[in-house]
């Protein structure tokens, strides 16, 4: 059980706050919090905006009945109104084309006794009110402080001093959590107090979960950045994860709480966020539960952060070749398959027009650039970027090898390329056809085609073959580029892998080029 002495905790909290809030620069954060929270408290409810929406005019065209044209909420236009009226003579009917018929227009059409009464009902779902903003803003403005809290100590080399001092890890983490969590909680409560004072919201049980939102958010934030080496790393994590987490859990909590608030209340972060929006005030159990869940989340995160807090964060060991090949294969599959294959799913989801209109060239371009980025990043991360691909071997033997390998691929193409797994006119058939364009030389456009083959060779015969071995790189190539044409893919992987391994990636690019240009050339000659 870690030791947590209140005086030490307070000392850490005071130090953190003093460090961030000292001097003129230190005034900035409170001023920003004030500038964001005060308008949320003081600006009156946007009744005028709601009224404006309610009195928005509906454009109507065609055979508009006089009763409708006379309405103050309609505007008669010559063509293409939001509602188009059409009078048919046999039978004598009035057809109303449109997506939504406003109540007043419906009433004007129906007259005093409607033939078919239509009851528009509120679904009864409760939506969070403005007090949700107090919790959200007070939690969001602390991103910078939380990010700098651990990463900053590391890059500042002060974490080692704290850890070496007579302080336990738990005291350090709890101190940091209390410093920023309480700042957020107090800011949120003050904003709520101002809003209650000016009469824009009524005091209620929503005040209970409100302070737990910044408290839990800061705890989760500290846990997220516990291994960050500096503020840049810390901030990029909290900046991308915390808003997504707050929004995502809030949406989940609201959906779960639509039928039973208790289900929504058990969602960490989101449950209390929705409860602080005065959504479930009629159900005190849900309000208390959401606050309790948030505090429990905070305790778990603080405990885990204290457990993992080290001066130098443990680095993941270097990946073994098979693991490296698997990870790169999974990422490459995502980068290549999504732009090429996702357009096909629109047809399956009921929108064949969109599938037909999305050009294949855009998919090949995006996928190829994505694969090329793998090599660029790898070179950027390597101590010696030029060593990533190996030194290119240029000369007559390389050119001859490229020519021969390309010729083999061209000659074998009609035989090995005919064994696709996808049946015609099925999803797998269409998928195989699209993937075929990435593997075979039939590519849309010279620039895109060249980019695709260079990206392939730099990755699969270049650095991945060097880092994970040519066999693993070849297997990844077949899995990513030709999963529905394994025979053709494996044959290409063997030929290109052999020439790439023996003569370098320049030779394999040359072989791909010969293959790419040779197949249509031979086809043209035969025709």
């Amino acid at each position: 059980m870690p030791t947590v002495r209140p005086r030490k905790v307070l000392a850490v909290a005071r130090r953190d706050l003093r460090q961030e809030l000292k001097g003129r620069q230190g005034l900035v954060l409170p001023l920003v919090i004030l500038a964001l929270l005060l308008p949320a408290s003081l600006i009156p409810p946007p009744a005028s905006a709601i009224n404006r929406l309610r009195t928005n005019k509906t454009t109507v065209s065609g055979d508009v009945p006089d009763a409708v044209a006379a309405l103050p909420t309609t505007e008669v236009v010559q063509h293409h109104g939001a509602l188009v009226f059409e009078r048919t003579l046999d039978p004598d009917k009035l057809l109303v084309h449109g997506r939504l018929i406003p109540r007043d227009i419906r009433a004007a059409l129906d007259g005093p006794t409607p033939v078919v009464p239509v009851k528009e009902l509120d679904s009864g779902y409760l939506f969070p009110g403005r007090s949700l903003l107090f919790a959200l803003i007070s939690a969001s403005t602390l991103t910078g402080a939380v990010s700098a809290s651990v990463g900053g100590e590391r890059s500042h080399r002060t974490l080692v001093v704290l850890l070496a001092a007579a302080l336990s890890r738990a005291e350090i983490v709890v101190g940091k959590w209390l410093a920023w969590g309480l700042l957020g909680a107090i800011s949120g409560l003050m904003a709520a107090g101002v809003a209650i004072w000016v009469g824009h919201v009524d005091a209620g049980s929503w005040l209970i979960p409100l302070p737990t939102v910044p408290l839990a958010t800061v705890a989760v934030g500290l846990w997220l950045v516990r291994r960050a080496g500096d503020v840049v790393a810390g901030t990029t994590i909290s900046l991308r994860v915390l808003p997504a987490l707050l929004a995502g859990t809030a949406i989940v909590a609201w959906f779960l709480g639509k039928d039973n608030a208790l289900f929504g209340a058990i969602v960490p972060l989101g449950g209390a966020l929705i409860a602080s929006g005065d959504t479930w005030s009629a159900q005190p159990m849900a309000v208390w539960l959401s606050a309790g869940v948030n505090l429990a989340t905070a305790v778990v995160c603080v405990t885990q952060t204290a457990r993992d807090l080290e001066e130098i964060p443990a680095r993941a060991p270097a990946r073994r070749p098979t693991a490296l090949a698997a990870v790169i294969g999974a990422l490459a599959a995502f980068v290549w398959w999504i732009p090429l294959l996702l357009p096909l799913l629109w047809r399956e989801a009921g929108n064949p027009t969109l599938t037909a209109q999305l050009p294949l060239a855009a998919g090949v371009l995006a996928g190829s650039l994505g694969l090329l980025l793998f090599t660029i990043v790898r070179a950027g991360r390597a101590p010696e970027p030029r060593s990533v691909l190996g030194h290119p071997r240029l000369g007559a033997r390389t050119a001859l090898a490229a020519l021969l390998a390309g010729a083999v691929l061209v000659l074998a193409d009609p035989v090995v390329g005919a064994w696709s797994l996808g049946a015609t006119d099925t999803l797998t058939g269409f998928a195989a056809e699209r993937l075929h364009n990435g593997l075979r030389p039939v590519l849309p456009g010279l620039g895109v085609g060249l980019l695709a083959l260079v990206a392939d060779e730099l990755l699969f015969r270049g650095w991945l073959a060097k880092a994970a071995g040519p066999v693993r790189a070849g297997m990844v190539y077949v899995a990513v580029k030709a999963p529905l044409d394994p025979i053709g893919g494996a044959f290409a992987a063997i030929v290109l892998g052999t020439v790439g391994h023996r003569f370098g990636f320049v030779a394999s690019i040359g072989a791909r080029l010969v293959w790419w240009l040779g197949v249509p050339l031979i086809g043209g000659l035969m025709l």
Partner: protein
């Protein structure tokens, strides 16, 4: 070119490469750059796949008294019917968007099938007027509009990253001693600022550009080139704001205050663009209009200005 200029240029190139490699080597930074595209495209893929596989049915509540002719017409319109005792309760609390007993139609305010049901019921009742619901099936044009909106929102996240790179990069280097070593080099002090700006902007633009291309491939992006240029300009603007706000203060004078200022400023600029349609001001132009070239030009000016400010401040420190 004089020897001093050549040395300055060489230093700029080397410092830019070093700054870029430092960003790429940081696993957390790299994951952050990949994360937005991964989340957007992953979510889209899962959603479309689920719709394609499950083909969710549209359910309508009917009562035991609903005439069979209406039920047959509903089923012919690909609507699934379920019998209920209380059509009002079915809509209000049981999750149905529309219900009918054959004489009355109950529908929720956001019902997409309400007009379809009303059309069937009115036709059967021989009512004097009948709604004809028009459906707007997404095509490549509406997809392109949505794609551009997604790209713009993603761009805002990259701008935030730019602010962090500009602001946090200087603060970090100051605190770990790297900045001191850099300032000892016999080169003008603005070179370090400009190198940071170029490296951060280039990396952010590269990853943002790839995101736009990916989205363009799967749903389409209206004016994809202009959207990418506005995004690149916005990234440059974000880095410049970060550099300008950070100065050389480092963590000794706090990070959260300047960070909150920068993020608020960036959000305000984006809101300005959305409200006024400004096409030349980086960050604002992300939600504005235009070809994006003017915005790129302004971003270069902003970057140069931020580097000059950085040089002047380090000269004083």
């Amino acid at each position: 070119m004089s020897e001093q200029n050549a040395r300055t240029l060489r230093a700029l190139v080397l410092l830019t490469l070093t700054a870029a490699r430092r960003l790429l080597r940081e696993g957390m930074v790299l994951r952050s750059l990949v994360f937005p595209g991964l989340i957007v495209l992953g979510t889209l893929t899962v959603t479309v796949t689920l719709i394609a596989v499950l083909q969710p049915a549209r359910w309508i509540a009917v009562t035991a008294e609903t005439p069979p002719a209406i039920i047959a017409a509903l089923e012919a319109a690909d609507l699934q019917v379920a019998t209920t005792d209380s059509p009002r309760a079915a809509v209000q609390s049981n999750g149905y968007s529309t219900a009918t007993d054959g004489r009355t139609v109950w529908m929720s305010l956001s019902s997409a099938t309400g007009l379809e049901v009303e059309e069937i019921v009115r036709t059967q009742a021989d009512a004097p007027w009948i709604p004809r619901p028009t459906h707007r099936r997404p095509n490549v044009t509406s997809g392109e509009q949505n794609g551009r909106t997604i790209s713009r929102v993603l761009g805002l996240l990259f701008v935030m990253y730019g602010t962090v790179f500009g602001l946090g990069g200087v603060a970090r280097d100051r605190d770990d001693g790297t900045l001191e070593a850099e300032l000892a080099l016999p080169i003008p002090r603005w070179v370090g600022g400009l190198a940071r700006w170029i490296a951060s902007t280039a990396i952010l633009s590269l990853f943002y550009g790839l995101c736009v291309l990916m989205i363009a491939a799967v749903v389409g992006v209206a004016e994809a080139g202009a959207t990418a240029r506005h995004g690149a300009a916005a990234c440059g603007g974000g880095v410049a704001v970060g550099l300008a706000v950070a100065g050389t203060a480092g963590l000794k004078q706090g990070f959260s205050g300047p960070f909150a200022t920068a993020v608020t400023g960036v959000s305000a600029l984006a809101a300005l663009g959305g409200a006024t349609g400004t096409g030349w001001l980086p960050i604002a132009s992300l939600f504005g209009g235009g070809s994006g070239w003017a915005s790129v030009g302004m971003a270069i000016l902003f970057g140069s200005g931020a580097a000059a400010l950085y040089g002047a401040r380090t000269g004083r420190s």
